[in-house]
Amino acid sequence: MACEGDDEMSALPDGSNSHDAVPRYHFDRHTADYRESFLDITHEMHRTCPIAWTDTYDGHWVAAGSAEVFELARCPHVSNDHDVNHERRGYKGISIPLLVDAENYRGGMLEMDDPEHRFYRTALNPYLSPAAVKRWEPFVDEIVRACIDDHIETGHIDFVDDVANVVPAVLTLAMLGVPLEKWTLYNEPAHALVYTPPDSPDAARVRELYMAMGVDLFTNLLEIREDPRPGIIDALARLRIDGESPPDIELIGMLNLLIGGGFDTTTALTAHALEWLSQHPEERTRLSRDRETLLNPATEEFLRFFTPAPGDARTVSEEVELGGTRLREGERLWLSWAMANRDPALFAEPDDVVLDRKGNRHFSFGLGVHRCIGSNVARTVFKSMLTAVLDRTPDYQCLAEGTVHYDSIGVIQGMRHLPATFSPRQRSGPGVAETVQRLQQVCDEQGLARPITEMKESARISD
């Protein structure tokens, strides 16, 4: 079958004809200078080779053009499978290169194909659909308020450490059904694992933190099996595939995927947007003033422009031809959401931030059946943090000194610190520690972590 009947790409029978001239491009997104050279690389690939073979990391295809990424992300002959036990065709999942610790370890449903992927997705949808996430808005606004209140009287805040790290962490744990006070145990490893290179002197410590987080997740899974409490962990504990409970290692992989997806990406988006708005004060004023019409398109534009998760790997599972280039079974493939998001064929002025951009069909949540299942959470959390900052610290200035971008943006285009100053104000309520306790009570009493099929009402925060 051709990819969705599209003429541009079709599966070929085995043993078909000779080698075509293969476009080549040296591509290594893990080098320290990749962040600086991203634009040049993107422009050159769009101009000369929207899909190309690179010899880096044992060789793989790189799809940079929007049309190529669109076709391949939705192609049934392209696989996400990570076959850790060599039971199928030995495919290596969604990371290039393979993460050191991930060799024998599958990253949840993102490293599964249908139908297996579909079982997990169906179990999780009622917790993460737009209607399900909307119920959490008062909860999100309340933890955002507390984060800012901890600093609002000082006139100084780090938007990463003090806000954008905290809110996604607390909300993700609440949705999973993990006690909220544990957020600090999860917070550091979830980010540090992404930005700490394997050869860093800090790598061993980060690994230990990550292991401690894994142990806590597993403990929660065991507890919830014995004595159920609502949340996504409960959904996974109850999941049956062909009548069988999946192995625990698959459930832990799934939970790690949700932590990885839920924590670092939204932090990255928020930090970059706040930094950009600090550098463009007129745009910040305009966004704040016209937020009723501008907040939605601006959010999509920040997603497009900053692309927190810059891409995903795949494996070609059946020979396909794409615009004259032949991809063979077993070959690895990098789908660059970040480069597709800058394609002038799809976006006018692709390297500018246009807050009211129309027709913004960006790639930042991926495409096809693996579309980011947390996209509604990401948008909700981002909008709550952004509007609170605009309302409560409207004159904030980010400080270049102390701002730290990730050294390597191969996995997440993130930031470690974003300090800012602003005119101090009076606080409006308790800080994070007390608020987390109150929110735990709210979760428990109202059963907030239940799926939308069991509960339709929004969280009620006011006492």
Binding site: P130, G359, N360, F363, V369, R371, T453
Partner: protein, 80 residues
């Protein structure tokens, strides 16, 4: 003008309902979209067209009313 969401292509990105909330609704459980009414009133036309262009999966199709009727008369659905 008629509008349709192809359920086999929609993956629940939700942009259509964000752009044209009067014309698209999202499923409570999986967030996948459907057109509220097949025929788009004139005042919603521009937003529906923008939603169509914004769909990351290119799952939305619009067509002129006469064309839709002609296709239906020949037993055909949809169209892009």
């Amino acid at each position: 003008m008629r509008v349709e969401v192809d359920p086999s292509r929609c993956q629940g990105h939700t942009l259509c309902a964000m752009i044209a909330p009067d014309s698209f609704e999202l499923d409570d459980v999986d967030g996948h979209a459907r057109a509220v009414v097949g025929e788009v009133p004139g005042e919603h036309r521009d937003r529906v067209l923008e939603a169509t262009q914004s769909c990351p999966e290119q799952a939305i199709s619009v067509m002129a009313e006469q064309l839709a009727q002609a296709r239906a008369a020949h037993g055909l659905r949809g169209g892009r």
